[in-house]
């Protein structure tokens, strides 16, 4: 109870409220700009949050990410270009509605059901995380080892149709994590005499590189940078949304539930949640033939799902320090900078921060409705900001942002290198998210593996001696088995063109 009051007091600060409003505007703008993703919005904010106390920093990230995920729907409906990958699943559907003259309903559904999904996700986060933390306190290195393995595997398993390239991306990330001193023996490895490499590859410049620089490179290398003009929204976007809520309660619940679960799985976030729930909406629909022709049902379900996934991703991030998606991967980095180590002890030592994050999610999803309305009303102008002016500015911010984390130009080099790696990987059909996951979880995997081997005197049986460890181990091995089968099948039926 104390924690709740303390958390509310922290948020009721005018400074925090102002930050929330500014980050809402920022998140909506970035989310609505095609090519700028929610992850990139978060990555660009890190250097700024560096100078804030923990809770305001979290406020900025939570609000920005919630707003950006919703705002991705706007250009999807108006221009048939998703603003963020999380809106890609139903972009065609929303655009078809616009063509039919129902842009107001499509975007209104986006706002309302994003908010509902987000609030559902927050409730699940707020109730399940503390319970999970109670269990997690009993976890030793064996359990963590399996948990990390499982998380890394899931990232590859659900995210991709090409598991081989997914695994390779993951191993590239793990290989990057080998660099530096951060290993159980504290020996400098793979540093080649470069002092800047002693502390390892800094995570934040690497992430700015992979998510922002790679995107900038992709846009400057694209044939056209100009967007077609968008039409203005004149009618009421909230008209008819209550009818939709009454018509599709099952879809909303299913979308939110699947969204939160997929968000909680490491490595998979809002984009995958919306693809899967768009598919489930179609599969269980009474009128599947209407999908693709401007039918709102799929938008209701996956619109709820992608925002639910944003909160869901925080569950493993807070409880185990394992990121649920690429946004929480950045969040973990920020928490470490703030001397808050995600894990079960956070719930004991800093309950106000945890409660504060829950409250922030509620707030962000509530104010999504008025702010979303504003964004939709001004969509025409947001989309008119020319990308040929925006992209160089984003590049400049990336440079300053990477520099600010360590105050060294070396970080800018790291950022550029990872930008190029990210760009090349996407060109060759490799996903980039597993690389980031590998970089973050590599040291955790190594630490827990080596400690466990020492504890079990080098016997692998030790990894199955404790009941929870054994359970997690069996599940992990089962997933590996399935993946192996799928991998062999993928060899026979290659997806690559």
């Amino acid at each position: 109870m104390d924690a709740i009051i303390q958390a509310l007091l922290l948020i009721a600060d005018p400074y925090v409220i102002l930050l929330i409003c500014l980050s809402s505007a920022f998140g909506l703008f970035v989310g609505a700009m095609p090519g700028l993703t929610a992850t990139m919005a978060t990555a660009l904010l890190v250097p700024i949050t560096f100078f804030m106390p923990p809770l305001p920093a979290m406020a900025v990230i939570v609000t920005t990410s919630c707003m950006a995920i919703f705002a991705g729907d706007i250009p999807g409906a108006l221009l048939r270009i998703p603003g963020t990958p999380a809106s890609a699943a139903y972009t065609n559907e929303a655009y078809a509605m616009t063509v039919k003259g129902q842009a107001e309903t499509a975007l209104g559904a986006g706002v309302v059901f994003s908010a509902i999904g987000g609030i559902f996700g927050t409730i699940v986060l707020a109730t399940s995380a503390p319970l999970l933390a109670e269990v997690a306190i009993k976890f030793s290195s064996f359990e963590y080892f399996w948990l990390v393995c499982l998380g890394l595997t899931c990232a590859v398993f659900i995210a991709l149709d090409d598991p081989v390239k997914g695994m390779l991306a993951l191993f590239i990330g793990l290989a990057v994590a080998l660099i530096g001193l951060e290993n159980p023996a504290g020996l400098p490895r793979f540093v080649f005499g470069v002092t800047d490499l002693m502390s390892g590859i800094e995570m934040i410049p690497a992430m700015i590189g992979m998510f922002a620089i790679a995107e900038v490179l992709r846009i400057v290398a694209a044939a056209t940078t100009r967007l077609p003009p968008a039409r203005a929204i004149s009618g009421s976007i909230f008209k008819g949304q209550w009818t939709l809520t009454k018509k599709y309660p099952k879809q909303i619940l299913r979308g939110s539930t699947i969204g939160v679960l997929i968000g909680a799985l490491p490595g998979a976030g809002a984009d995958i949640a919306s693809w899967i729930t768009y598919a489930t909406a179609k599969k269980f629909s009474k009128e599947p033939e209407k999908f693709g022709t401007g039918h709102v049902e799929g938008i209701v379900e996956s619109g709820a799902a992608n925002n639910a996934a944003v909160s869901g991703a925080w569950i493993p991030a807070l409880v185990f320090g394992i990121p649920g998606d690429s946004i929480t991967a950045i969040v973990i980095g920020v928490l470490y900078l703030k001397n808050i180590i995600p894990g079960p002890m956070v719930f004991v030592n800093q309950p106000a921060i945890v409660t504060g994050i829950f409250a922030l999610f509620f707030l962000a999803n509530l104010i999504l409705i008025p702010f979303g309305w504003l964004a939709i009303k001004s969509a025409k102008h947001i989309l008119a900001v020319p990308r040929e002016i925006l992209m160089p500015i984003v590049l400049l911010f990336c440079i300053v942002g990477a520099f600010a984390v360590t105050n060294s130009p070396f970080a800018i080099g790291v950022m550029l290198a990872f930008g190029l790696i990210g760009f090349l990987m996407e060109e060759h059909g490799f996903p980039v998210a597993p690389v980031i996951l590998g970089i973050i979880l590599g040291p955790m995997l190594e630490q827990n593996f080596v400690t466990s081997m020492i504890k079990s005197d080098g016997s692998f049986l030790g990894f199955f001696n404790r009941p929870i460890a054994a359970g997690l181990g069996v599940v992990t091995l089962a997933v590996w088995g399935v993946m192996l089968l799928r991998g062999l099948k993928a060899i026979r039926v290659p997806q690559t063109a």
Partner: protein
Amino acid sequence: MRFHDSVCGAVLLALAVFIFTYALTIPPMPGQQYGADVFPRMVAIGLGAFSLMLVFRGWKYSAPGTPWVAIAPWMRDPRTRGNFILAFVLTIAYVLLDDIVGFIPLGIAILMVLFVRQKVEWRKGAVIAVAMVVMTQFLFGNLLRVPLPRGILTGFW
């Protein structure tokens, strides 16, 4: 540029071999059986195994006629190729020159070059470039105390 899957696989395989051989040179942790060399070897084995799979898959099952190196459309068009190289070169130039030239002149130069390249009207571009750089200097350099190098402007404020 798009390389054949087998080529990608081979490059990653070489990386795996390098990591493995490097790991052999890491001394063990004094007094323990498992030290800093164990994990790199595991990573190398995993990386190697999956890159072999990629080499094999690319060699055996790629669509017939897939070239070893395909030139992507953006590389063929001199304009997009130029854009790409420019963004890259400008960032490297920043890393090399920031201490000497300083953030403000270099930042303005980078923005101006990119704006002109993208056919933004130059007067408008110049106004935006100067405004953005001065604002960034003020926010990060002055308010947040990020030591953005002052370079040739050292001593002016």
